[in-house]
Amino acid sequence: MLEAIGLTKNYGEVRALRSLDLQVKSGEIYCLLGANGAGKTTALNIFLGFVLATSGIARIDNINVSQDPIATRKRIAYIPETVTLYGALSGLENLDYFSKLSGIKHSAESLRRVLAQAGLAVEAYDRPLQGYSKGMRQKVGIAIAIARDAKVLLLDEPTSGLDPKASNEFSQLILAMAERGSAILMATHDLFRARETGSRIGIMRDGSLRKEFVAGEIGHRDLENEYLETMQEG
C-alpha cells in the first residue's frame, strides 16, 4: 500500500534522508521514531508529494508519487502536527469545507456521523473550533481523513501536546482506521504510544532507518533502550 525504495533526499550539502526502505501494508500502523532532524517529516513530505526525492521511489497503492502525485494524493489523508484549521468555523463546518474541497459532498447527517466516528462529543459539533482543545482539533483532523475515505493515513507527531487521555483516544481512533483497512504511517517521539498503537516500529537517525521491530515483540523498556542506544551510536 505504501512503499519506499532507496528513498534519498538531499538539501544542498545536507542529506536529510538516506536510502530509506519501508513498506506499510493495508491495516498496518508503522511508527517512525527518531529525534528532530532524523528524516521522519522529510519522508512524510515525499509521500505527500510536497517534496521531490533526490533518488529512490515512493509508491502509494503501487503508484509512483513523483510520476503521478495527483493520483497518489487522492489516496492519502494527512494530519499535521498542528491541526488549527479555521477557528471561526465549527467542527461540522470545517469538516464540510474540507470535504467540499476534496470534491465530496456529504449530507449534514453524514457529516455528523463522521464526527461521531472520530470521537468528537456531540455538543462540540456546532461550536467554533477556536474553543477546541488540541485533542478535539485532532479529532476533526481524523474526521476529515475518514470523510476522504483515504487508503493511506500519514500522521506527523499527532500526539505531541495531547494529554494522556486524549492521546489514548487518538490511538483508539487510528487503530479503528487501521482495522477498516487503512495503511498508517506515523512519525512520532512518543515511544509508549508507538509501542501501544503501532504494528511495526522503525527508529531513524541522520536520515536512515537504523532499526525495525514488530511492536508486539518488544517490551516498553527494551524499546526505550534500543532507542537510546540508536541515538548514542557514532
Partner: protein, 475 residues
C-alpha cells in the same frame, strides 16, 4: 471543488471571522464621515465665495444707479478702482472637490482683487508649506491613501502564511486543489470584497457632495474609483507576495506594516523634505519687510508729488483734485508693484519648482502618486490652483487697465461701463482630459500590481510554500 464553491466558502469564512466584516463596515462609515467632513469644508468655502460675489454684485448695481444719477464717486474710475470696488474671483467649483480637499484650504479658492497691486491679493497664499502639498485633511482621499492599505494589511497579511500555519494549505493540496488556485481564490474574494466596499463608499461619499451629475462628474467619479481600486490592488498584490515569502504571520504583518510606513509615511515626508531643501522658499520676513519699505517709499513719493502739486496750485490747498489724487495712487501702486513683482514671482516660481520636484518624486511612493491623482481629479491639487492663480493675475491686469485707461484719459465711468466690466473666466476642467492625464501614473501602478501578482504566482508554485524552508532541526 468548483471555483464558485471556494469563493462561497471563503465568504462564509470571512463572515464568521468577525474582524473582516467590521473592518469593511468601518471603512464604509469612515468614508461617509469623510464625505460629510469634505463637503462641510467645501460648502464653507463656496458660501464665502458666493457671499463675496453677491456683495460685489449688489455694490456694482448700486454704483450703476449712482452713476446714472451722476454721483461723482460712482463716475470716478480712480475712486471706484482704488477705494470702492474690489472684485472677488473664484475657482470653478469642481464636482467632487469635497472628496479630496487637498490644498483647497491652503491655497485660496477666491481672491478679492482691486486695481491695486497684485501683492494685495496674492499675499494671501502660503506657498512655503510643502508638507501639506503631499498630505491632506480628513477627507476620502486621506482614507484611500492612508487608511485603505492598513485595511488591506489586516485582511490579507496571512492569506498564504496563515493557511500554511493552520495546516490548511497541505490539506487543500491533498484535496487536489493546487496551492495557487486555493490562494488565488482567497485573494480574489478578499480583494473583490474590499474593492466593492471601496467603490460603494466612494459613490456614497460622492452622492453626499450633491454634485451636478454631468459627464464631467461621471468621468471624475470613474477616475476616482479606478485610481482607488488600482491602489487597492497594488497593496493586495504586495500583501500576497509578502505573505508568500514570510516565515510566520507575525513576520508578514510586520513587513507589511513596514512597507506602509515607508511608502505611505516616510517617502512622502522625504519628498517634502527634499522639495523644501532643494527648493527653499523665499523668506516671508523679507517679503513683508520689502512690502513695507516699498509702501513707505511710494507714500513718500506721493507726498512729495502732492506737495509739488499744491505748490503749483496754492488756490486748491485743502481740496485736492480727485483725479490727480488717484493718478498719484495709481503711480504709487505701480511703483510698489514694480518692487514687489520679482519677490512675488520668486514665491510663485518656488511653488512651481516644488511642484516639479514632487511631480518627479511622486513615482517613489504609490501613496503620493494616488494622492496626487485623486486631488487632481477633484481639482484641488497645486497645479490646478496654479492655473487658477495665473488666470486671476491675467484678469487683474485687464481689470486694472479698464479703470486706469479711463483714469488717465479722464473719461468718467458710465452706466454702460459698469455693464462692460471685465468678467473672470475660470479655467474649466475637461473630465476626459483629466483621466487621460492620469493614465501614466495609473498604468504604472497597474504594471507594478501585475508584476507583484506574477511574482506571487511564481512563489505559490514553490514547494517551500507548503513545507517551509528545510532546516536540519526539523523531521
Amino acid at each position: 471543488m468548483r471555483s464558485a464553491d471556494i469563493l462561497l466558502s471563503e465568504l462564509t469564512l470571512l463572515r464568521r471571522e468577525q474582524i473582516v466584516p467590521w473592518v469593511l463596515v468601518g471603512l464604509l462609515l469612515a468614508t461617509i464621515f469623510a464625505g460629510f467632513s469634505g463637503r462641510m469644508i467645501i460648502d464653507e468655502q463656496r458660501a464665502g465665495a458666493l457671499g463675496a460675489r453677491d456683495e460685489a454684485r449688489v455694490l456694482i448695481d448700486s454704483l450703476k444707479q449712482q452713476a446714472a444719477a451722476g454721483s461723482e464717486t460712482a463716475c470716478s474710475p480712480g475712486a471706484v478702482a482704488y477705494s470702492v470696488l474690489s472684485m472677488p474671483v473664484s475657482k470653478t467649483a469642481t464636482p467632487l472637490e469635497g472628496l479630496a480637499i487637498g490644498q483647497g484650504d491652503l491655497l485660496p479658492d477666491t481672491y478679492r482683487l482691486s486695481a491695486r497691486g497684485a501683492h494685495t491679493f496674492l499675499g494671501q497664499t502660503d506657498p512655503e508649506n510643502s508638507l501639506r502639498l503631499v498630505s491632506g485633511n480628513f477627507d476620502v482621499a486621506f482614507l484611500v491613501v492612508w487608511v485603505l492599505p492598513l485595511l488591506v494589511i489586516g485582511c490579507l497579511f496571512d492569506v498564504v502564511i496563515g493557511e500554511r500555519e493552520r495546516g490548511v494549505l497541505s490539506l487543500a493540496l491533498l484535496a487536489g486543489v493546487s496551492a495557487g488556485r486555493f490562494i488565488w481564490h482567497k485573494w480574489w474574494t478578499r480583494f473583490l470584497l474590499l474593492a466593492a466596499v471601496t467603490t460603494v463608499s466612494i459613490v456614497l461619499a460622492a452622492w453626499i457632495q450633491d454634485p451636478a451629475w454631468t459627464a464631467t462628474t461621471a468621468y471624475v467619479l470613474a477616475g476616482w474609483i479606478l485610481t482607488s481600486i488600482i491602489y487597492l490592488a497594488l497593496w493586495c498584490a504586495l500583501a500576497l507576495v509578502v505573505s508568500t515569502g514570510a516565515g510566520s504571520s507575525e513576520a508578514a504583518a510586520t513587513r507589511l506594516a513596514g512597507a506602509w510606513l515607508v511608502f505611505v509615511i516616510l517617502f512622502p515626508a522625504v519628498t517634502n523634505l527634499i522639495a523644501g531643501t532643494v527648493m527653499p522658499p523665499p523668506s516671508r520676513v523679507e517679503l513683508t519687510a520689502t512690502l513695507r519699505e516699498a509702501s513707505e517709499q511710494a507714500d513718500k513719493a506721493i507726498a512729495a508729488e502732492r506737495d509739488r502739486w499744491f505748490f503749483d496750485h496754492p488756490d486748491l490747498q485743502g481740496d485736492m483734485n480727485r483725479r490727480a489724487y488717484y493718478l498719484s495712487v495709481a503711480r504709487s501702486e505701480a511703483g510698489i508693484e514694480k518692487i514687489m513683482a520679482p519677490l512675488l514671482e520668486e514665491f510663485a516660481q518656488n511653488a512651481r519648482d516644488q511642484q516639479r520636484v514632487i511631480e518627479i518624486m511622486k513615482y517613489l511612493s504609490p501613496g503620493t502618486l494616488t494622492f496626487r491623482s485623486l486631488t487632481s481629479l477633484s481639482g484641488s491639487d497645486g497645479r490646478q490652483h496654479a492655473h487658477f492663480r495665473d488666470a486671476v493675475v491675467a484678469y487683474h491686469r485687464d481689470w486694472r487697465e479698464f479703470f486706469v485707461t479711463r483714469l488717465e484719459t479722464d473719461a468718467p465711468l458710465t452706466v454702460e461701463d459698469y455693464d462692460r466690466l471685465p468678467t473672470f473666466v475660470a479655467p474649466q476642467i475637461d473630465g476626459r482630459q483629466l483621466i487621460l492625464s492620469l493614465s501614466v501614473p495609473l498604468l504604472l501602478m497597474l504594471a507594478l500590481t501585475c508584476l507583484l501578482c506574477l511574482l506571487g504566482s511564481r512563489k505559490l508554485r514553490s514547494t517551500h510554500l507548503i513545507v517551509g524552508t528545510y532546516s536540519p532541526g526539523r523531521g
